[in-house]
Amino acid sequence: MRSQPKGWCAANRGRANRGMRRQRVEIPFRATHAGFAHAFSRLRGALDGEGLDPAPRYNVELVFEEIVANIVAHGAVDGREPDVRVTLEPSSDSIVLKFEDDGPPFDPRGRTDPVPAKSLEEARIGGFGLMLVRRAASALDYLRTAEGRNRVTVTLPRGGTPVRSCEAVV
């Protein structure tokens, strides 16, 4: 009975070792298309060291994409793009993404999902981004800070099996 868990544990020790590199990463950028592309590249580089399974990694990138795209599209005031700071906070069981920007107040929590369209003519173009964020996240919080910044905090499950249950077998 133990031979199979040992193989399983070897694979998961590798994951745990990769987890030793877990660290908080801050990505500051201006909310332009170029800033977005650069920041997205930095996020993917940081995620490379996290050893996430494909599905949770996809969801982290999806949340980043949707929240930042929204800031880039709607955050500018009088032609000035917001300053954005994204913080990636990995832990053993979750990934937390914090998005701060100095654009106009925007609380993503109260938005409703688009209703599936019955035809191309009536199909909505917008609204899917926040819907995808809500589907991917285990928690979504918003605060307008005293300094006048939006702070959106998204928690995503890390996925995979906890390494702790492996240690009992070895």
Partner: protein
């Protein structure tokens, strides 16, 4: 993000998309893809098997192109999506308004039908 165009016969265009359909990726190909598909009301199959990521920017692009094609009696069918990409298409119910099929044969059946 890249696109490759191929002739699938009988006036059907096959488009292979390669890369990531995130906002930067959509910015790179949307104008070119729209030009190729919409100008002549093309019937087209879109191969997603080499698309590693799609977000709402990609969904918006497909709805916009499909709507413009519909007005010109053209048609577009998506096929071959990887599981994580297929999950996004399913979550937003894209297949209610744009046909999504598992493979090229099924997609060609729809676009020629």
């Amino acid at each position: 993000m890249q696109l490759q165009l191929g002739d699938a016969g009988d006036g059907v265009l096959n488009v292979v998309l390669i890369g990531r359909l995130d906002t930067p990726g959509v910015d790179r190909i949307e104008a070119e893809l729209t030009t190729h598909l919409v100008r002549y009301g093309t019937r087209a199959t879109i191969d997603l098997s080499q698309v590693a990521f799609i977000g709402s920017a990609g969904i918006r692009m497909f709805i916009t192109i499909a709507r413009a094609l519909d007005r010109k009696a053209g048609r577009m069918v998506l096929y071959g999506a990887r599981p994580l990409v297929a999950k996004v298409l399913e979550t937003v119910s894209l297949d209610y308004i744009v046909p999504v099929r598992a493979d090229a044969i099924a997609a060609e059946g729809v676009v020629r039908g």
